[in-house]
């Protein structure tokens, strides 16, 4: 991420310090020359993964791919980073943190949510762009053993594009690879009578588009999360009616073909040491129980096309 590296001045200053630090010791008779690349080893990034890098992980091990979607400010990034934060507070029931290829990516996302957890207008950092990004976490549970999970961090812009363009929607092969699909609905937007109309429209249109394009495979577990449930709880009756209407319509659209569940959640609670556990454990149980890769071990490499880039990705044969 460009803005995660700090200002140019800070970066230059840091590089200067590191240059000095990493300079080989001068020991008189064995004086070393100036620092060059041969004296350093690159450790690789621990930031978010591009689709290509996520692919490398998929090629090397079984992974559950969880696509987390929703409109702007619905709390996708808070949800994803909150799961990681839950582990930073301690083990989650039967699950233990076993590693991550994207620690920097998680820490970057957690930062603002940690700073002020109960301010929905701030939340975590906003994701931009039409390319999916992934965060990786490895968990261990007994007796299952280790599970790798790739969580997508995709932008609200991507969902605007899904609603607007069938062609774009059809190009989203990352959706086809989704073992689990999470769609977050912004409870605060429902509670606000000036914004609530669009919430229903956006949710139903997005799902219709995804189904029409055939990128959301039948049988995929779909969890629709009514996020910021604390705000929703205090809202008027119209908001409650709208929630019911959204649930009914989505059940009609998805019900016969998908494993659909509705969940009320305040994803900021994942940043609360005392309240984080229950929801996070339930999600982990689901994600470590079902993956397409485990259901169909005869995998083939599919040539997928995403955002105009040709990539190799493990898919279901």
């Amino acid at each position: 991420l460009e803005d995660s590296a700090g200002s140019t001045t800070d970066k230059q200053k840091k590089e200067e310090i590191v240059d000095v630090l990493l300079q080989p010791e001068e020991t008189g008779d064995e004086a070393q020359g100036p620092v060059d690349e041969a004296t350093r080893i690159s450790l690789g990034s621990s930031d978010e993964l591009s689709v290509a890098l996520a692919n490398d992980i998929l090629k090397s091990r079984y992974c559950t791919v969880v696509v987390v979607g929703g409109e702007h400010l619905c709390g996708k990034t808070t949800f994803v980073s909150g799961l990681y934060q839950s582990f930073a507070f301690g083990g989650l029931g039967e699950f233990e943190f076993a590693g991550s290829e994207t620690l920097y990516g998680f820490e970057f996302r957690c930062h603002k949510a940690r700073l002020i957890s109960n301010e929905p207008a701030i939340g975590s950092t906003r994701t931009r762009g039409l390319d999916a990004r992934f965060l990786h976490i490895e968990v261990e549970s007994r007796p299952k053993g280790r599970s790798n999970i790739l969580l997508s961090d995709i932008s609200g812009e991507m969902f605007e594009a899904i609603r607007a363009s069938g062609e774009y929607c059809a190009s989203l092969d990352v959706m086809r690879r989704a073992d689990h699909f999470i769609y977050l609905v912004d409870g605060a937007a429902i509670a606000n009578r000036y914004t609530r109309a669009s919430v229903r429209d956006h949710a139903t249109t997005a799902f219709r588009r995804l189904l029409t394009a055939g990128v959301l495979e039948r049988g995929t577990p779909v969890r629709v999360i009514f996020n910021k449930s604390d705000v929703l709880r205090d809202a008027d009756e119209e908001a409650a009616s709208l929630v019911l209407r959204i649930k009914t319509e989505l059940a009609q659209i998805l019900g016969p073909h998908f494993d659909l569940k509705f969940i009320d959640l305040n994803s900021h609670c994942l940043f609360d040491r005392d309240e984080r556990s229950i929801e996070a454990i339930e999600f982990l149980k689901e994600w470590t129980t079902y993956t397409k890769a485990q259901s169909w071990p005869a995998l083939s490499l599919q040539q997928l096309h995403f955002s105009g880039h040709s990539i190799d990705m493990l898919g279901v044969s």
Binding site: G44, G90, A98, Y104, H111, S117
Partner: protein
């Protein structure tokens, strides 16, 4: 090297000022002085002991043991120690904590450190018991009050501070570091000793392992989940027995200098034997 001798390169890691050099000074003293029972003792002197002599002298004289800047590179301090069965030649690279510090932000480390990682047969990771970055934590009560106050006063929401990678929790840096190291040690199951330094400052009755579980849960889970392949053990150590300046009077009244040292976690009771973590590592 004799047939009953074993050579081990130990990887000694920790952020700056976590007690690595004090440990080395106290270890070299206690294994030579014979003042308290120790599992390991001096087997032989090394031809060049300038550095170890300097830090040991500082330690004995209640001086704050400084990290000597001329030890920034790979040259390990070698100690020849023996137990009842075996003599060991142990290489302790006194690696600068800054290397660990900047590995997180710069995603690079020196080539000599890469070689150390690849050669090492065990790792010692230092964590300070009170001085570590916890990260910004959330106090639910305070944050709710802040939100309510803002609403009541209709004040604009202040933009939170930018993300500073240098301020991430210490446990995250250490998990990252251990991941990087263990990827390079896949072929062998190098054990890890976690040494929580300045343990005399931990005033409750927690065990070192319980301390790690509560204070650094992400690191604890990471170690625990990988324990089958990479065994680990947590020790609490006090290499100086207290603050060398403030506690000098009290420490000087102890029966001998070795009594300043304390190790917790090796057995039910604390011990003055600072070689116990090494014994555990070498017997894995």
């Amino acid at each position: 090297m004799r047939p009953d001798e074993a050579k081990h390169d130990l990887l000694v890691l920790g952020l700056p000022e976590t007690g690595k050099t004090s440990f080395l000074a106290a270890l070299s003293y206690v294994t030579r002085a014979g003042e308290v029972p120790t599992v390991m003792s001096l087997a032989d002197y090394q031809p060049d002991e300038k550095y170890i002599t300097e830090i040991k002298d500082d330690w004995m004289d209640f001086k704050v043991v400084p990290r000597h800047t001329d030890q920034l590179s790979a040259k390990p301090v070698v100690l020849s120690l023996k137990d009842a069965e075996t003599a060991y030649e142990l290489g302790f690279p006194d690696v600068s904590g800054e290397i660990v510090l900047y590995a997180w932000t710069t995603r690079q480390w020196p080539r000599f450190f890469e070689e150390l990682v690849k050669q090492s047969s065990a790792a010692i990771v230092f964590v300070h018991s009170t001085s570590y970055e916890q990260g910004i934590t959330i106090d639910p009560v305070t944050s709710k009050l802040v939100a309510l106050t803002r609403k009541a006063l209709a004040t604009p929401v202040a933009e939170p501070k930018d993300f500073d990678p240098d301020k991430v929790p210490t446990q995250v840096r250490l998990v990252d570091l251990l991941q990087l190291i263990r990827r390079r040690q896949e072929a062998r199951s190098a054990p890890t000793a976690i040494l929580v330094s300045a343990w005399d400052l931990v005033i409750d009755a927690r065990t070192p392992s319980a301390w790690l579980q509560e204070e650094m849960p992400l690191l604890y889970q990471y170690l625990q989940s990988g324990a089958t392949k990479f065994p680990y053990k947590v020790f609490g150590i006090s290499a100086t027995g207290g603050d060398p300046v403030k506690d000098r009077e009290r420490l000087s009244k102890l029966p001998n200098a070795s009594s300043r040292i304390n190790v917790w976690g090796a057995s039910e009771h604390p011990s003055h034997d600072l070689s116990l973590p090494l014994t555990w590592l070498l017997k894995r």
